[in-house]
Structure formats: C-alpha cells, structure tokens
Symmetry: C2
C-alpha cells in the first residue's frame, strides 16, 4: 500500500542567493518534506509543506537523548538542464542501517526516494547551475515523543530539507593539512560509528576545535581501542596510495560506509588500479612515508568528493605528501566522479538516478 | 553583572496528576526557564515562561549533529513543607564539564542555580508530597544555529523543565536482574562518556532493547577498549560489596561522575566502611562470586537513588547476589540518602540547599 504525498505550496517564494555567494548549509529552499511516525500507525502523514520552523515540545526526546539519524546527498544539474541524483538508494539503505542501530523504525526506502525526487523536482529552480554547485539534500529523522525516559521514542519525524551549496573548491581542488588525533576518539567498535547519528558529530567537535586552532583543516581519527589504526579523516573516509596500491581502512564496525568511498573503490577496480580494504596503522603509514612510498592521500565524501591531504602531522612530525600538491590519481578520481555526477561523462556504473524518472529499484 | 529573570506567568493552570498515578517524565509543570546564547552577546534573555513548545528551524544543529548536554536532579518536600534540593551545585558543575567537552559555552553556575530555585519556588505546588515522590528538574542545553555544518553552534538555548515524579519503588526498594553487555559499548576513553550528552544515551538504547527482550532491567557496561572492566549499570554508577569492602569503578574518562556515587562514597567513609575507587574487571567480580565474597551489588543514581542488583548474568551464567534480596548496606545507604533528601534526617554533609534561601556558594 503506497502512501500518497499531500502537497501544500508556499504562497511566497524566497529570493535565491547569487551562485557566487553560496555557502554550505545556510540557505534553504521554499519547501520541505515531512512524514510522521507513531505507534501503532507506523510512518504516515507524508507531506510537502512550505519550509517552516518545527513546533517541538521541550521534553521531546531529541533534545535529551540524541536519538536521531541523518543522510546527506546532492542533486546536480546536467548540461541539458536535467536534475539528477548520485546513488541515492545507498543513502537510504544507510539511513535504515543507522535506524536499526538507533532503534528507530525503518522507513520504506522506495517511498522515501520517491518523496525526495518529488521535492527536488518541485524545487528544481533552486539547483544552482554554475561549475561545482549543487543542491544539498538532507534527510533526517528525529525522536519527538515528549518523555524524559531513556528508551526508544514512540514518535518520530522524517524530514527532508534542501540547501543550494557553492563549489567546495573555489579555486580548484586543493590539498589540506591534517593532524593525527591522539587524544579524542570519534567512535569505537560496539558504539555508533557505523551509523550516521548526531552523537558521532557532537563527539568530534572538540578535536576539530583544538586542531583548527593549530591551523589544521581536519583530524585523522585513529581507532578507539588501540589508538593505532586509521579510521577516517574529519567526516570523510580516507585513502592512501602506497607504492602504486590504494589502501583504505576496512569497514570494521566503527567506520561510516561512505557512498563516495564505495564509488572510489569501484572506479579504481574499473581502471585496474590495485585497491585494498584492510587495517592500516599510523605506524605503517609513517614507515611508508619514510621509505618514500606514500604517494598520495585523500579524504572522500559527498561534500568535497575528494579532498587531497597535502600534509599529515603526527607527534609534531610533518609528513608532506606529494610535495603538498594534489596527486594525479586523486585528481583523476575527482574529475571522473564529478563528471558523472554532473552528467558530463558516461555513467558505466548505473549510478545516476534522474529526478524526473520513476524510482528504479537498484541495490 | 547579574542578569535579571523576566517572568511571564501562565494564564491557565494545568490539572495536577494524582500522586498515586505519577509516572516518570511524562507530565510537566506550568512554567519553564529559558535563556539564550548567541555570539557576541553571550548568555542573555533569561525568562520564566509558560511551558510551551519550542519553535525550532528544521536546519537547527541539534537535529543533525547532536550538540547538547543535560542534567537531572530533584526537588523534595520536607515534613515541614519546605522545598529543597540535593547538591544542585554538583549538577551545574557537571553541566559545565559536559559543556566543555561538547564545545558549548559555559553557563554561570550561580545564576543557573538561582534560576532553578526561582522556577521551583514558583512551581512549589507541583512538588508531590507522598512518600518517595519528588519534582524532577531537567536543565538542558541545545544547539540552535540553523546551519548544516559540523562545527560548534553559535546559538544555544538553556532550558529548565520540571516534572512531578512518582516513587521509583512502588513496593519498597527492589532488586533487579542485570545482563553483562558483551557486544555494545556505551562509551570509550577519548569519547564523551564523562559528559551528560544525548549521544551517550542514544548509543545505549540498542543494548537495553535487546536485554529487555531477554527479561533484564538493564545492562552492565564494560569498558570499550578491553571489554573487561566494569563501568556503569544502565544509567547509573555501580558499587559492589566484596568481602566487607565496597568497590566502585574509578573515574577513568568514560564513566559519568554521579552525584549519588560521590554521596555514597562520602557516606561510607563517614560510617567507616572501607570503600575504594579502582578498576574492577568482570573476571574479578566473577571470582569473588565463586569464592562467596560478593555480598552486595547496586546501582546509584538520582532517579532510583539505590537500585540493588539481585542477579547478574554473564555469558549465560546467572550470578545470584545476596539470594536475590536487597542487601543490608544497600538498604542503609538508600534510607540515609533519601532521609537526608526529604529532610527527615540531619544533613551532616551540608548537601541540602533550601529553595527559599539565597544561593550559597559551595564547591
Ligand atoms: C563520518 C563520515 N564518514 C564518511 C563520510 C562520507 O560518506 P559519503 O561518501 O556517503 O558522503 C561522511 C559524510 O557523509 C561522514 O559523516
Ligand atoms: C550514564 C549515567 N551514569 C550515572 C548516573 C548517575 O548520576 P547521578 O547520581 O548524578 O544522577 C547517571 C544519571 O544521572 C547517568 O546518566
């Protein structure tokens, strides 16, 4: 039984920001999608509404016990003026994996994708068209039961909001300085690191604040158990090219499985470039550096796509990678992924989902 | 420069629940306290307002990145009809420690205590008077900047709401069954376990859900690194009486420092009962049990005060403690703490803060 989506159009339209003045995540479009959950109704009352504040009781569980999940993906405008999404079904699958970890009832992935496509189609004028810009899509679920008890909520809201975002790199893809984090921990096996839930990000703020003061763009997270194995970089997955082979930390239970990560791996395989998912320690990386074998390093995530690491600082030692420049492989991956996302290059992987076509079922 | 608190009284009064029908955390009083933070104003606009829903933008950081902290304490009615608090300055100190970990600007503890006392005094009629009932006080801070970026928020709200709560034990203090948690982890050193922040509770739901299905009241959390050392029980600190000596896990960076925990330790010292804070492994506990030396076990926290553990299940083995009955020491601690809280017994520790007296400065 497919739900219908009630649509209430906004009577006023906001002014759209100039595309050269776009920031990340500060402007929102005219409409939003909202769906509610309650026992025993399940998910119901799907609506596209004018973008508006939520009325939330101060005792709502989201304000106290952090039961929430979210996703992040983008809509891109092709040279033909089509709106398209990049592997959205992966974000919705991950949302449901996050739901499971956080004891939130699963959503119907197909219906959620339909809702996202309908919302994006309605807001198509909001997708900026200049190089590197896009419409960021933020689906999220919050626990709204008014109850101060540590237990799964019995009420939720699933909401989708949209934000036009500028090019991540204003002057072309650009390497950053990263500090290896020795004190704070993002996640640990048995915790929520695999899930996209607020607490992981709240917990990461302190390390970022400290490292930002020291001039670093992000931190490289080590595992919470031995503080030895590399996990992620900032809010991105991380890759290293060592002696011709690309290495990324294996999914171990505390690493978020990125859509970009998976796409990078597939692309490398397609190119016949050796790529492995395995444990990699900071000591091994350091040794590879000393041996002159650490050729490239980069973060991978939806926001930046590829973020080259020009310098890695560990225990006061600065590892300068590829002379602080963007590596050739990093650049090729970036170009190919963004070309596919923007419809400028063929998509041999069936990654693209056109907004104006009915939802396809892919896994 | 002391802020003033603007007061707007509610024009209607809610009906108060019958004291024998009180649940925990479902009913809220007529008023709430709200104070805002923004750069560069700092904390400002302190108000007591009619209890009401918050209007929150869907892009507000609290819904996405979990930057929030909270506290929990109670107001008790004495036989003389006075309202009093139990060591509230400790909750506010802990709130500021949580703030620091979560990159939230500190609050003025003295002012916050003044605000809490003023709110409780205004709602004094809401403090239920029957045995074991109290008015639960929930101060919390949420990040409200409308911005989808992983960075500390530049806007916050500090809110205090009040909820009349029933007796935790309807038929006297009562032992529970606890399962040792081997899979999920509450917190890890370097993470946020020391702080009272939503993410810790969101992350704990899954283990509780699984163990509840198997008939357990709560789980016993082991450390996230070795899954070996005992940390907490549910949302309480934990104590064991082994061969005449009371042992509680030492504060190691991933354990919340409970106000009740500290009070139990002080009380035991006052009674000349040996008490130590140290690492204690589940193996050591198991050995003590086998040797017949595990005399009592209990959780300690504001909600239940003392929660005796009658059975501990570890790897399918059931450790029955004190024949599943409440231990004598557990009962004595419970009685003494609650008698002090309700003003039925002298307070040799200077723990009580009367609501109608000006704020005293104690540390
Ligand atoms: C912690 C974390 N790791 C990795 C990623 C990369 O995931 P994706 O490529 O799906 O954007 C993200 C961001 O989305 C993230 O928040
Ligand atoms: C995780 C956790 N541990 C311990 C406690 C006990 O702390 P307190 O005695 O201050 O209530 C609480 C509850 O407040 C808690 O949430």
């Amino acid at each position: 039984m497919e739900q219908t989506i009630r649509v209430e159009l906004s009577t006023t339209k906001k002014e759209k920001p100039k595309t050269d003045q776009l920031e990340f995540g500060r402007t929102f479009t005219d409409h939003m999608f909202v769906m509610e959950y309650s026992d025993p109704l399940g998910w119901h009352n799907a609506e596209i509404l004018p973008y508006q504040p939520l009325m939330v009781d101060p005792s709502s569980m989201i304000f106290h016990y952090g039961q929430s999940v979210f996703e992040g993906l983008k809509a891109y405008l092709t040279p033909d003026g089509d709106a398209q999404l990049f592997r959205p079904e992966r974000n919705l699958q991950r949302l449901n994996r996050s739901n499971d970890r956080l004891c939130i009832p699963p959503i119907d992935e197909k219906f959620a994708l339909k809702a996202i496509k309908q919302l994006v189609a309605l807001e198509k004028d909001w997708i900026p068209s200049t190089e590197g810009t896009s419409l960021y899509i933020r689906p999220f679920i919050i626990s709204t039961e008014p109850y101060l008890g540590v237990a799964p909520s019995r009420h939720y809201k699933f909401i989708v909001i949209l934000s036009p975002v500028g090019a991540y790199y204003k002057e072309g893809i650009n390497p950053v300085k990263i500090a290896v984090e020795n004190q704070y921990v993002r996640a640990v096996v048995g915790g929520t690191g695999e899930a996209k839930t607020g607490g992981n990000y709240a917990s990461s703020l302190k390390a970022q604040e400290v490292s930002a003061k020291e001039g670093y763009a992000q931190v490289l997270w080590l595992d919470g158990v031995e503080k030895k194995y590399i996990e992620e970089v900032g809010s991105m997955n991380v890759f290293f090219k060592i002696n011709g082979e690309v290495v990324t930390p294996a999914l171990n239970g505390s690493i978020l499985e990125g859509v970009t990560r998976n796409s990078v791996i597939q692309l490398l395989k397609h190119w016949n470039i050796p790529v492995v998912e395995r444990k990699i320690s900071i000591d091994e990386l350091h040794q590879a550096y000393k041996d002159g074998l650490l050729e490239e390093a980069f973060g991978a995530g939806t926001a930046a796509v590829i973020s080259p690491i020009g310098q890695l600082t560990w225990n006061l030692e600065h590892l300068v990678i590829n002379n602080g420049n963007t590596g050739e492989l990093s650049k090729n991956i970036y170009d190919t992924l963004t070309n596919i996302q923007y419809g400028k290059e063929k998509d041999p992987f069936n990654w693209i989902e056109k907004v104006n076509e009915p939802v396809r079922v892919k896994r």
